[in-house]
């Protein structure tokens, strides 16, 4: 044998040692991050840059100047969008955190009831969901009309309209971002810190203000970002409640006008505003990042009964449950009502199961459902893998360009779905390096890819928030016990992040199933997603069958939620079983 084989293994060993064990070295972050950054560059950033180029393609920065002239639609739209987004963050924050606090820290009659339905709003199909709000709370809605009949007034009572209507929809559909983030964080927090504050004489409100909320910062920041960006890019709600001076509406209108550069300008401004908000939040969070410094692990606090609310609680729970279920019930009502039987009446006058028969007897009735399930699951899986890694990199590793990576991920969430889809089409209508030379357009893969790009931020944010609460010394302990970086990462860090990851994955899945605006531009006849199927029904005003499809979607999402709930409880169940052995 020559010298080659003898030196090779040692070089090889050196290399593997570097790759496998070098998690501490300065360049490890780059090794980890480089592929992620490439993916983001190819799938997200590059297409977005194209948007910007388009916006300045015709008359340079003139389009942007419109945002600074006081009378223009542009400025008003920007302001309206900002106001709606900020108000949505505030409202969702209050509702979501309050819910998390109530459900995670108190035990009262009816708690389980609310808990079972708390995520219903997240399961609402976007298109039909928005309609159901209209049928509930607007001028033509059940509630105002019922109140009108009750009080015998001339006009519907308590009808939501315009921005107020948009905010109702936003609050209702987006508070789960806050609820999920806050409850994951509350569960992961060292309760003894809270106890210390009580011991020092602080009352409940003060403890909240000075200890709990600051400790929840990463979760709140993450939720705020998601809500802010979702509101900013929200389209259906302003559309249905007739608020047309918003950024997204202007993008649509300008595209209809054929003014593509202007539409791109709006999209670019939307992106810039989101980036600015992201940087602001990062800065804010950075100043308050912390890790629990307690020694050992303290007991989870037993839930205590609130003496005052004991009687109020069941009533309030039933009310809350009704509110939570109302939109789904409305969809059900529509699904079971006969065509034309519901006009000025408060509720429909004739019922039928015809709508369900129609969609179920159709030859390819289940195909959209299966398609959506398959594509969303695929995309969610990819989101989980990439999102968790990026979250880890951004939170735990020090490297140049951390903020850029963060922005790269989030930007896709900030832009309207249409823009993302068009970017993807332009990028992948011919083969390129990121698609292994394949043209993805017209294939199955383009849709999961779009979902991946759009919903990666959900998994990334949720994971990142829960990672913020995990003591790095746990990972160190695992490494010390001989676990490689990967192993420690997988069975310690990721396992502890799991509640957050599941939350993110759930959100990604639900949004994937409901995604319409991007899907409609890239679906093929073999990948018709459920949202397109619903929309086709809506388009031909078969609102009953659309609602029936909507019910199927709600059911599908519920099944998945139930499974993920079991997954999350898996660990807990194991230790509960363990406890039984000791008896």
């Amino acid at each position: 044998m020559t010298a080659v084989p003898s030196t090779l293994p040692s070089r090889w060993a050196q290399l593997t040692q570097r790759l496998g064990g070098g998690a501490n070295s300065a360049w490890f972050p780059y090794v980890l991050v480089a592929p992620l950054a490439l993916i983001l560059w190819g799938y997200v950033v590059q297409p977005m840059l194209a948007t910007f180029v388009e916006s300045v393609s015709e008359d340079g920065t003139a389009n942007y100047a419109q945002f600074f002239t006081s009378s223009g639609v542009a400025r008003t739209s920007l302001l309206t969008s900002l106001v709606i987004s900020a108000a949505s963050v505030l409202l969702c924050g209050i509702v979501g955190v309050a819910m998390a606090f109530l459900l995670k820290r108190f035990s009262f009659a009816g708690r389980r009831l609310i808990e079972a339905f708390i995520l219903v709003p997240a399961a609402l199909p976007p298109l039909i969901g928005a309609v159901s709000f209209q049928l509930l709370y607007s001028e033509i809605g059940i509630l105002p009309r019922a109140l009108q009949q009750l009080f015998g007034t001339a006009q519907p009572v308590l009808a939501f309209d315009g921005i107020a209507g948009v905010l109702v929809v936003h609050t209702f559909t987006m508070y789960p971002f806050f609820y999920l983030a806050a409850s994951a964080a509350l569960a992961g927090m060292d309760p003894s810190v809270e106890e210390a504050a009580y011991n020092l004489g602080a009352g409940r409100i003060r403890v909240w203000r000075t200890v709990l909320l600051p400790m929840l910062t990463p979760a709140l920041v993450s939720a705020s970002l998601l809500v802010f960006m979702t509101s900013l890019a929200s389209y259906t709600a302003p559309l249905l409640f007739g608020v047309d001076q918003t950024m997204t509406m202007q993008i649509y209108i300008n595209r209809t006008n054929g003014d593509l550069p202007m539409a791109s300008t709006y999209a670019a401004v939307l992106g810039l505003v989101s980036i600015a908000f992201l940087l602001l939040m990062r800065w804010y969070e950075g100043r308050r990042s912390y890790l629990s410094q307690s020694k050992g692990i303290s007991a989870r606090r037993r839930e205590i009964a609130n003496p005052i609310g004991r009687w109020l609680a069941p009533v309030a729970s039933v009310l809350a449950t009704l509110v939570l279920l109302a939109p789904v019930a409305t969809i059900a009502l529509v699904a079971f009502s006969a065509d034309g039987s519901w006009t000025t009446e408060v509720i429909p006058s004739a019922y039928t199961i015809e709508n369900f028969v129609t969609i179920l007897t159709e030859p390819r009735a289940f195909e959209p459902i299966l398609n959506s399930l398959q594509m969303s699951l695929l995309a969610t899986a990819a989101c989980v893998v990439v999102g968790v890694l990026i979250a880890y990199a951004v939170r735990r590793l020090r490297f140049v360009g951390r903020s850029l990576l963060d922005i790269g991920v989030m930007i896709a969430w900030a832009l309207p779905g249409t823009v993302v889809a068009i970017n993807l089409i332009s990028a992948y209508s011919t083969g390129n390096g990121f698609s292994f030379g394949q043209a993805l357009i017209g294939t199955f893969w383009i849709l999961p890819l779009a979902y991946f790009v759009r919903f990666l931020p959900l998994v990334f944010r949720a994971s990142s928030a829960s990672l913020a609460l995990i003591d790095p010394s746990l990972e160190e302990a695992a490494r010390n016990l001989g676990a490689s970086w990967w192993r420690a990462f997988l069975n310690i860090t990721v396992r502890l992040m799991l509640p957050g990851v599941i939350v993110g994955a759930l959100l990604a899945f639900v949004h994937g199933v409901g995604e319409f605006v991007a899907s409609v531009l890239i679906y093929t006849s073999s990948t018709v997603p459920i949202s397109v199927a619903i929309n086709n029904r809506m388009y031909s005003f078969e609102i009953g069958t659309a609602a029936a499809y909507g019910m199927l979607q709600v059911a599908l999402i519920f099944v998945v939620m139930w499974f993920s709930g079991r997954l999350e409880n898996g660990g807990r169940a194991a230790s509960r079983r363990a406890e039984q052995w000791t008896n």
Partner: protein, 361 residues
């Protein structure tokens, strides 16, 4: 005046089907008293303290402060200052903010608070650490911040859960003197949990020795040291040899027992000990009272040195006694030329007549 009273307090943890963590504990602690809970790891000290602080509700029994039932009073209404075993520092605040928290809650003026924080940090030797983040401190420094945070508010009652466990001996001594000074000056009732028996002896007015959730003995340091209630207390407080010896004669407060070598010696006994001649009595003999003599000595017990352990001030000898199967362990003061005796040497041991004590099993 009784300040704190625990009446038949028990705590069972809901899901653990095991014995109660705290089991029918009755304690009365006087105002201004420095009271210590001592006991092996897992015996229920922290659980007891947390019930006093209001973080656990007793499964049974009542807790009273100055006669008032506080069993279910909210923790923030109890005016106790607690040092948590796990520190429980606020990770999002600096050292100074942590210490200032209780003052802020009490609406102490800005300047006044700053002064008191600086003082409290000086008391725990952390001057100048005020602006540091908590995660930039060493373990011992964190513990001192936790202590300063509890001391600075001058609470009506101090609850200290092993507040010095991560400090070095020097600092621990200084700090415990500091705690004692503050406690005495302000007459603060204090409940102290420690593993360090020397610390418990040096600081406490009274000590409660616990085991598996139950109180074994309550008494002054000298009482629990010299007159342990039972074999467990004797063995737990300091080192002690508990020998089972036949009783030769009985009196009201002492009995005469027969030594392994055949000699007889008097041992103190609690009143109502109920022993009779011919019974076997458990006799506690503190190592430091046993003297090492020549193996040839007539009334000494012969034995062979099994281990020698140098601890600085004293050297511990473990001696396998010839007669009987009891291992007797002996401590010899270091001044007694410790290097003279090695493992395997034969020695004679003499038990002190006036320092033996009969304990219950």
């Amino acid at each position: 005046m009784i300040d704190v009273e625990l009446e038949s307090v028990s705590k069972r943890f809901a899901r653990s089907g095991e014995a109660a963590a705290v089991d029918d504990v009755n304690l009365t602690i006087g105002a201004g008293e420095f009271f210590t809970l001592l006991g092996p790891s897992g015996c229920g000290k922290t659980t007891t303290l947390r019930m006093v602080a209001g973080f656990y509700f007793p499964s049974d029994g009542h807790i009273r402060f100055g006669g008032k039932d506080v069993t279910r009073l909210a923790p923030n209404k109890r005016e106790t200052g607690m040092v948590f075993q796990n520190y429980a520092l606020f990770p999002h605040m600096t050292v100074a903010q942590n210490v200032a928290y209780g003052l802020k809650v009490r609406k102490v003026g800005r300047a006044d608070a700053a002064r008191r924080v600086a003082e409290a940090l000086a008391e725990v030797h952390l001057d100048g650490y005020g602006p540091r983040r908590i995660d930039q401190l060493s373990g011992g420094q964190q513990q001192r911040v936790a202590l300063a945070r509890a001391l600075v508010i001058r609470p009506r009652m101090l609850l200290l859960d092993e507040p010095l466990s991560n400090l070095d001996a020097k600092l621990r001594e200084e700090t415990r003197a500091e705690i004692r000074r503050i406690q005495r000056e302000s007459g603060t009732t204090s409940i102290y949990v420690t593993h360090d028996q020397a610390e418990a002896m040096a600081m406490s007015d009274r000590i409660a020795v616990m085991r598996s959730g139950q109180v074994q003995q309550v008494g002054t340091p000298r009482e629990v040291y010299h007159q342990p209630a039972n074999a467990f207390v004797a063995r737990f407080i300091g080192r002690s040899n508990v020998l089972s010896l036949p009783v030769a004669a009985v009196e009201a407060t002492r009995v005469q027992v027969v030594l392994p070598g055949g000699g007889q010696v008097h041992a103190g006994a609690p009143e109502g000990h109920g022993l009779r001649v011919g019974d076997s009595a458990l006799v506690s003999a503190r190592p430091e009272y046993i003297s090492v003599v020549s193996p040839a000595d007539s009334d000494a017990i012969g034995g062979r040195v099994a281990a020698v352990e140098f601890t600085g001030m004293t050297t511990h000898l473990t001696v396998d006694v010839d007669t009987g199967d009891i291992d007797t362990q002996v401590t010899v003061a270091a001044v007694d030329a410790p290097e003279r005796i090695g493992v395997g040497d034969r020695v004679g041991l003499r038990l002190p007549a006036d320092r033996l004590w009969v304990v219950r099993p």
